[in-house]
Symmetry: C2
Subunit: 367 residues, 2 copies
DNA sequence: TTGTAAGCGTTATCAT
DNA sequence: ATGATAACGCTTACAA
């Protein structure tokens, strides 16, 4: 029946429809170059046989895989999930597939994944941020495929960047606090290692403070990881140095949530005693007893536009001048004017270490 | 220089290394079938030229794409992100790539994505759950590639399912509450539409209750969507019918968090007045003022084992008897013995409707 | 151990 | 509008 051991191929369709394989191919790729009746016949036969062109063969012949590669740091943080979903959705709408890989914030791993995707034959690439392993530029140049750096915006290279201006966002957020009258600031930051977005945001805070000649006490700058528990821990560390800041800028939403919950536990009122602001807006940011002021970036927007930009670059449609993705400040109840006096010093017990993690849960294994 | 217009090909490497293309191929695929010196020469030339085998050509010749497809409902819920990350990680370790698509809990869309992946030439497939569009089985049969149904466990088809026993998990969780002495239950469930995992969990609750002859008042069963705000809303709805339940089983973590926060707002003590339990364990579940009892499934475990199972099935290594993924009950402070008397009825104001969503934030656009 | 050459299933170039 | 046929770049018998 079928001339191939496994599966139907174009030759089968051609034979049964009484045409050549060239016509079968044309019927699918250039429908209007084929007479209506022949096309109908071919389509009917193809449907009956359940035939669809073999991806690899097509890729080999056209030198197009129809696949876009993407390397993200992780799937568990920030706006990445929504961006990826939107990216895939938009790619699928344009008959492209998404090859996804993760770097876990490790430049070497990212390089390896990029290489893998490139060798896999992707037509385009989405990377996060603009600083990568030193071998990346050469690699990209060799393969010469369109590449987009997502979640950053660089006026110098506007058409390869799609994202918010991280610096401006935190600059503005900090200004908001300064305008409210704050002068004693604290910063809860995630590690900026291998993360140019975080560096840019931090610089935004510093620039806003410097502009108003506000100095920040070194002990009020706490750098750590992601996480709610981490936010609680870092807040306590900051509170060990009096007078406590009246405004706390957090590098991400989870740190802000942790700080907020810890304030609640310690009896520090937000925003009366301390204002807390974050970055990233997931549902819980607005659902805690005191909703948290934050910066919102539309992951959907970033993902969708990465797809659109790549597609139009691949198809030669040069109708796209990609530019900065807007971010917005969401002013909520967690930020307000500073309190007048100082927060009374709290007894926080002895100095803590991060590794004394305990889970209070009694786990019960279900067979 | 290079015989192809763009890019280096095996022929170039062969020519420069003074061997045939067959030997180049062998040097990479069967290193020990090539003499050490020749292999070294080839590898050196290949590295200099930055050559790597063309994916599509290799796929066409070997009838293996080295790609695994996966269709997940979404990336923003539950354990999916971690599962996908582990899946990709494990695939990469085995020189495979991940083609990812989303169904958004829509069977038609899922079918479309499956078709797309299949035509893209994936070697294996990961789907979530075991109920799909009616055309799926035939499609899978036609392509004849190994497929795994993730996040479910079916003793009848143990080697195509990798996941927890959803029914058992919620059966056990409910029993835990019954053993504590609860008799008045409430359920906050997400819609079971197109979601066999949710249906199984719900049945687990019902079976445990039935076994102890506990009836649940219809007004104490509230079905809705995902989300913290939804949890708050549904909790209020349940509270409108007195006497209030003393134990609340939530179909997912976000509903549990919402219910918890709303109890806090309304002055209902947890667990003294009401026990609250959920499903899924993300960080915030254990970081709220009252940590929430829940069921933890290891997304990493599910993802990693999907990869391992597929790989070993593809390579013919039949050393894998895939089986149930363990889930565990995490007993935390949100579940305890029931209170003696009834909760005094609260004044909740007029009946609400879900669509009166408001965001209290003042958004400020950043240029 | 290495080379020769026949595929793998399309698409694209030329004719007709 | 349609058909032959040569790529596309690699793998893999089969020979040597």
């Amino acid at each position: 029946m079928s001339s191939s051991k496994r599966g139907t191929i174009a030759k089968d369709v051609a034979r049964i429809a009484g045409v050549s394989t060239a016509t079968v191919s044309r019927a699918f790729n250039y429908p209007d170059h084929v007479s209506a009746e022949v096309r109908a016949r071919i389509e009917s036969v193809a449907k009956n046989l359940g035939w669809a062109p073999h991806g690899a063969a097509r890729a080999l012949a056209t030198r197009r895989s129809g696949a876009i590669g993407a390397v993200f740091p992780t799937l568990t943080l920030g706006d990445f999930p929504r961006a990826i979903q939107a990216l895939q959705h938009e790619l699928a709408r344009n008959k492209h597939t998404l090859l996804l890989a993760f770097s876990e914030y490790d430049l070497d791993q990212e390089l390896g994944q990029i290489r893998m995707l490139l060798e896999g034959g992707v037509d385009g690439l989405v990377l996060v941020g603009k600083s990568h392993h030193e071998d990346v530029p050469e690699l990209l140049a060799r393969y010469g495929i369109p590449t987009i750096h997502a979640f950053v915006f660089d006026p110098a290279a506007p058409n390869t960047c799609i994202g918010p201006d991280n610096h401006k966002a935190l600059y503005r957020l900090t200004r908001h606090l300064i305008d409210l009258g704050h002068t004693r600031f604290g910063i809860l930051g995630q590690s900026a290692r291998n993360n140019d977005r975080v560096r840019a945001r931090l610089q935004g805070v510093r620039d806003a403070l410097a502009e108003s000649s506000i100095a920040i006490h070194p002990k009020h700058f706490a750098e750590g990881q992601w996480g709610i528990a981490e936010g609680k821990f870092l807040l306590r560390r900051i509170l060990r140095h009096s007078p406590a800041p009246t405004a706390l800028v957090c590098g991400n939403g989870y740190l802000a949530i942790g700080a907020m919950l810890e304030c609640q536990r310690l009896g520090i009122r937000v925003p009366e005693d301390m204002s807390i602001v974050g970055y990233d807006d997931f549902e819980i940011m607005s659902e805690l007893p005191v909703p948290i002021t934050t910066v919102r970036v539309s992951g959907e927007d970033v993902g969708r536009r990465c797809a659109q930009t790549l597609i139009s670059r691949l198809t030669g449609t040069v109708d796209e001048p990609p530019h900065e993705c807007s971010a917005e400040l969401l002013l909520r109840a967690s930020s307000g004017p500073p309190r007048k006096g100082e927060i009374p010093a709290l007894d926080l017990g002895p100095e803590e270490h991060r590794d004394q993690e305990i889970d209070e849960a009694r786990p019960v294994r279900l067979t």
